[in-house]
């Protein structure tokens, strides 16, 4: 319920405007079509977080009533306020702030990962900066390239603190903080530890909001190119569900455009020997996970069972809730399952030595890079997955290969791991994994056919959702969270035994993988995530098969190789164990 809100009247650049009390000057200006540049500001209202500490001073406007400059991103409109957004005073102050930032910035755009996708760079262009009048000492912090997932170059940091807000308030992991003061301030990890030595989950949410290249994913493309050019190697690739509804954005398509066929085509053109669908792995995960859940319910095992397909979430509970290690499912994630099957079943079928198979995965996710690098995911000396590239990296590879994405014809996935269901597509969004699991659980528990496969009560965007699903005479109580901060609240309640659930789905990123740290930058526009979510629902709706256990290739896999869900071999290849880790 919304209370009747008070309206206030103000004047911006001589235009009179009536807005709700509590509106910022920036929002009010936008309503009358007046653009004010911003940099540190970030408003992810649907995620419930606003970076509004007004520190970059790029959005200053003149408050003519008082003759001073105010940060339009943070200051609220008051009745009778008179604002001039382009007074000389304001423009000069904004320009000075930007020049000062640039005077302390490396400016190596040409070779920077953020080239042409950088908010600082666009701003410099928008403000027509041609000369930096104030030169002087520049930051000189060591770069941290040690982690498998994230690279940090603090010298490109502009101290906007979006990452800190993201990590502290949304994810509650608290890895980053401003250290020191004055000119020496740097946003860094505790004691300047390498990311590796912290309890970073590698969710990449800090990366996804960083306006510059101070935080970026560790790139794998050079290594992938090398393997592609090695005739000895059989290079295969798998594509995660959320990638196909986002990658096209990098080629000028609207958010939510589904480009599965084109991506497959592009990857084949690049030279991958086979293109698999991670959704196949998702179906496989569902079968294993549903089996585990039913077993836990039937044998009085530990409940709730928590999903485990999100590696950032796995890191999170290992570091932050080491006392609850027995509640997540032991299933590996779809990515790892596809990897493991590629180097066993697929290798066997194709008669290729597993050591010559290079498994690359294309993920919306930064944490997947760290997941692939986990030692327990290596068998007989080779990892399930060799390289992970993000959606952004893949788009760059396609551009680098000079492929005209828009011109591509659709192609389909390769056999053995190319088929997938509508249920699997849902893995890309919050609520999707549990919905897919319910479809399978329903039919295997009741033995009846599920008519309406869409569980609306599980869908949506709220941070914490609860639902009770009737499966035969079983009332399955289900929890869903996305964003690690929401997750923490739920886990603490579980720890205190205040809530009771049978199954809980957790995704680290706001919105789930559609909002993953490796996706095309949303630059603060969260509506993009919703469009990607709708696209996943659409894929499901149009799928021929919508229940994981109906996936025929998966059935074939069980028949020829895994025998049955939860079998010994399935356990060896598809399940894992968790370890308690330090919290820093």
């Amino acid at each position: 319920m919304k209370l009747l809100s008070k309206m206030v009247n103000c004047t911006i650049n001589n235009k009179s405007i009536n807005v709700e009390a509590g509106t910022t000057v920036l929002e009010a200006a936008k309503k009358v079509g007046i653009h004010i540049p911003t940099l540190c500001h970030l408003d992810l209202h649907d995620v419930g977080v606003v970076n509004q500490n007004a520190n970059c001073r790029i959005c200053l406007v003149e408050n003519e009533s008082r003759g001073n400059l105010i940060p339009s991103c943070a200051e609220k409109v008051t009745d009778g306020m008179v604002i001039q957004t382009d007074s000389i005073k304001a423009v000069m102050a904004r320009r000075t702030s930007l020049e000062l930032i640039l005077s302390n910035h490396p400016k190596d755009c040409l070779t920077c990962v953020k080239n042409l996708d950088c908010e600082l760079q666009s701003l410099a262009s928008e403000m027509n900066i041609k000369e930096i009048r104030y030169q002087g000492e520049m930051m000189n912090h060591p770069k941290d390239f040690t982690s498998p997932a994230i690279e940090k170059d603090s010298n490109k940091c502009i101290m906007c603190r979006r990452c800190v807000t993201m990590c502290d308030e949304v994810q509650t992991v608290g890895i980053l903080s401003p250290l020191n003061r004055g000119f020496d301030v740097v946003v860094a990890t505790a004691f300047h530890l390498d990311f590796n030595d912290t309890s970073c989950t590698y969710c990449g949410q800090c990366v996804s909001v960083c306006p510059t290249a101070a935080l970026a994913e560790k790139t794998s493309t050079p290594s992938i190119w090398r393997r592609l050019n090695d005739p000895q190697k059989h290079v295969v690739v798998q594509i995660a569900p959320a990638v196909r509804v986002a990658l096209a954005e990098e080629f000028g398509y609207e958010p939510g455009h589904i480009s599965t066929g084109k991506i497959v085509s592009a990857l084949k053109r690049i030279g991958f020997d086979a293109v698999f669908d991670t959704n196949f792995g998702a179906d496989l995960t569902i079968i294993e996970e549903a089996h585990e859940l039913i077993e836990r319910i039937e044998t009085g095992g530990h409940l709730p069972m928590l999903t485990s397909c999100c590696p950032a979430w796995v890191q999170f509970f290992e570091h932050q809730f080491p006392d609850l290690l027995d509640i997540p499912s032991s299933c590996k994630s779809p990515q790892q399952m596809v990897g493991a099957i590629s180097k066993t079943y697929y290798a066997e079928k194709k008669g290729i030595d597993p050591k010559d198979i290079v498994m690359v995965s294309l993920m919306p996710c930064v944490a997947k890079k760290a997941e692939a690098a986990r030692l327990e995911f290596t068998r007989d000396g080779y990892p399930d997955v060799d390289f992970v590239m993000t959606t952004r990296e893949a788009a760059k590879m396609i551009k680098e290969a000079a492929i005209e994405f828009k011109q591509l014809k659709d192609q389909s996935f390769d056999d053995l791991m190319g088929e997938s269901t509508g249920a699997a597509a849902l893995f890309g969004t919050t609520g999707g994994v549990i919905e897919a699991a319910c479809r399978t659980a329903y039919e295997s528990i009741t033995g009846k056919e599920l008519k309406n496969v869409e569980f609306d009560e599980l869908r949506g965007f709220d941070g914490v959702r609860k639902a009770t699903i009737k499966i035969g005479d079983l009332d399955l109580s289900i929890g869903i969270t996305h964003g690690l901060g929401n997750t923490r609240k739920l886990l603490e309640a579980i720890r205190r035994k205040e809530v009771k659930f049978d199954a809980i789905e957790i995704m680290a990123c706001p919105g789930g993988c559609i909002g993953g740290g490796g996706q095309p930058y949303h630059h603060g526009n969260i509506d993009i995530l919703k469009k990607r979510q709708q696209a996943l629902y659409k894929i499901d709706r149009h799928a021929m098969i919508r229940k994981s256990h109906d996936n025929e290739m998966v059935q074939a896999l069980y028949e020829h190789f895994l025998k049955e869900p939860g079998s010994d071999i399935a356990h060896r290849l598809l399940h894992t164990k968790y370890q308690p880790k330090e919290r820093i």
């Binding site: 500490n53 970059c56 000069m92 004055g182």
Partner: protein
């Protein structure tokens, strides 16, 4: 322990104290920070010892007090009742004071203050330094023993509190303050009554009273002297504030560097609680209030009220945007009043003496007095409390006694790192909030540093910028990077590596940093530069055009050829024969200044 439960209890207490047996003589010894560092604590101990040994302790009392304000000539001893005043007392002088003064009744002349014409001045009231002063905030400082609550009671202590909570209303307290015209002494000059009224008006079940005792201005020591010398006044004032706004908890945020000031304050908090001036049901009323101490940890910016609140909450002391102001959302997000120490201690006096009395002192828009810490190249160094409207000239010459060696005074820096320089031309400006703003300076918290012709204004500006850029919290761009760039430009200039364009850069950068910064630190940081550029532009130009001589030289007219300079020069760059004029080989001079110190006839010219 006496629990005060009514106004009568309080009045009775006062009567009892006043009735008490009087000593025939009281040695008031300064135990303020300055004097303590000259061993006044040992002097006190020795005096007590000697008095006991001579069996005079029934007649003569030693009373340690807070700063006697004339710190430059400390340690000070004032002997009551005739007010004989001894200065620069050392341990060696104790014997003489006891033997001559206490036993034989003779004045120890060599310890007396000497006036301008070398005349002896024996009583404190006759010393010119004290003459133009008028004390409200420092009323009890240096007068009472801060560790003895009886003395505070004897000086009408807690009377304002008692009257207010037992026979008045919060609204009346706020009204009196509003009418008095008291404005914040922490720098901004915001009307205190209004601030309290705003906070009182916000509905909340939790409110806080916060005393800003961070005193960050380097060169100011008013607040610490008040806390050390009259801690009960602060407690009484904060409790009054609690009553007025409806808070039951107060905090004193004090900088960690002031570790020794904390002890008398803690003691005072403890005793006032024991007597029922703090805690539950104060003075038998249904009003309860408590005060705790919060420690800073070395950050100037924590004097800024929102940063102070962040620091109190256990965070990095970074300022927040305003609005919302603390009166609406302060400590723990609750309405809070933040006032400076000096602002607070004015309150009980105002309540006791009335708004009309207070507003009769000072100028139209600036009422009452202001305390300054007068320091630098001035004869009389110490704390100065004068009515608003007093001119700089009066402070510098009448109170401060002018330059110690008669050199030309170039200007006065007021307002510390946020302020500006006032030159001789403006010395007749009356000191009040508006007149200062009008000439591009600001009141600040009360630091007043006197500079003479030897002070290089570009160096001074650089000193302040060095301070602000080190103390910048680093949150917002203009201050974090801008003050650093300004400092770099100044450094370049001083190192003779600058160019005329640097002056333009300094100015535009300075103006934009002022306009664009998030908090008061950045908004005022360029002031020392902009103001010295305005008044001493030629000094900047000398650097920018590199016409400034950077080495020492010999004034041929004065040199008597004594060779002293040549002998001390560490790089042997002074040549000359005995009894002939010497010469500095400029290319080798490292500007160490040794020759300047050595020359007996002032024949060395500074750069």
């Amino acid at each position: 322990m006496l629990l005060v439960n009514s106004l009568n209890d309080l009045k009775q207490w006062k009567k009892n104290v006043l009735k008490r047996k009087k000593y025939t003589m009281t040695l008031v010894v300064c135990a303020g920070t300055s004097c303590l560092s000259s061993e006044s604590d040992l002097i006190i101990a020795m005096l007590k010892n000697a008095i006991e040994k001579n069996q005079l302790d029934a007649e003569i009392q030693v009373k340690p007090v807070g700063c006697l304000r004339f710190c430059g000539i400390g340690p000070l001893i004032v002997i009551e009742p005739d007010q004989t005043t001894y200065m620069k007392v050392t341990l060696k002088d104790v014997d003489d004071i006891v033997k001559l003064h206490l036993i034989q009744g003779e004045v120890v002349e060599r310890l007396l203050y000497r006036g301008d014409n070398d005349e002896l001045i024996s009583t404190i009231t006759e010393i010119p330094f004290y003459k133009k002063q008028r004390r409200i905030a420092l009323k009890n400082v240096g007068l009472i023993d801060p560790r003895d609550i009886d003395e505070y009671i004897a000086h009408d202590g807690y009377l304002a509190l008692g009257k207010s909570i037992l026979s008045s209303t919060p609204e009346a307290v706020i009204d009196t303050l509003k009418q008095s015209g008291l404005r914040g002494r922490g720098g901004g000059g915001f009307p205190t009554g209004l601030k309290w009224a705003y906070t009182a008006a916000v509905k909340s079940n939790e409110k806080y009273v916060i005393c800003n005792a961070d005193e960050g201005d380097p060169g100011a020591f008013m607040d610490r002297s008040i806390i050390e010398g009259d801690p009960h006044a602060l407690i009484e004032a904060m409790t009054l504030a609690g009553y007025a706004i409806g808070a039951d908890q107060g905090y004193v945020y004090i900088r960690a560097e002031y570790a020794i000031s904390i002890e008398p304050l803690e003691l005072a908090l403890k005793t006032s609680k024991e007597h029922g001036f703090l805690g539950k049901n104060i003075l038998g009323s249904d009003f309860s209030f408590n005060i705790d101490i919060k420690l800073g940890a070395g950050a100037f910016v924590c004097g800024e009220e929102t940063a102070l609140i962040r620091s109190m909450e256990g965070h990095r002391g970074e300022p927040d945007k305003k609005p919302p102001f603390p009166s609406e959302s302060g400590f723990r997000g609750k309405p809070s009043v933040v006032n400076n120490v000096e602002t607070f201690v004015n309150v009980p006096v105002i309540i006791r003496e009335g708004a009309a009395w207070f507003s009769s002192i000072g100028t139209d828009n600036s009422k009452g007095t202001k305390v300054f810490a007068l320091a630098g190249n001035i004869k009389n160094i110490g704390l100065v409390e004068v009515p608003m409207g007093t001119t700089f000239r009066e402070i510098v010459y009448d109170v401060g006694g002018g330059h110690p060696n008669g050199k030309k005074i170039k200007g006065v820096q007021i307002g510390g790192p946020s302020g500006g320089v006032i030159t001789e031309d403006y010395f007749d400006t009356p000191i009040d909030y508006d007149s200062l703003t009008a000439i591009g300076a600001m009141m600040g918290s009360g630091g007043m540093i006197v500079m003479d012709e030897d002070n290089d204004m570009v160096e001074i500006a650089k000193f302040y910028l060095d301070f602000t850029q080190e103390e910048s919290c680093g949150k917002c761009t203009p201050c974090r990077i801008g003050t650093k760039r300004m400092y770099e430009i100044l450094e370049r200039l001083v190192n003779m590596e600058g160019d005329p364009k640097d002056l333009e850069r300094l100015e535009t950068l300075g103006i934009n940093i002022k306009n664009a910064s998030l908090c008061g630190l950045g908004q005022t940081a360029p002031n020392p530069v902009l103001s010295t550029m305005q008044f001493f532009r030629e000094e900047y130009e000398a650097y920018a055009y590199r016409t400034k001589r950077t080495t020492y030289a010999v004034d041929a007219k004065k040199c008597i050829g004594c060779t002293k300079c040549a002998r001390v020069c560490p790089v042997q760059c002074i040549e000359g024969k005995v009894r002939e004029v010497h010469r500095v080989i400029e290319s080798d001079c490292i500007a160490c200044g040794a020759c300047y110190e050595a020359c007996p006839v002032d024949a060395i010219i500074k750069p």
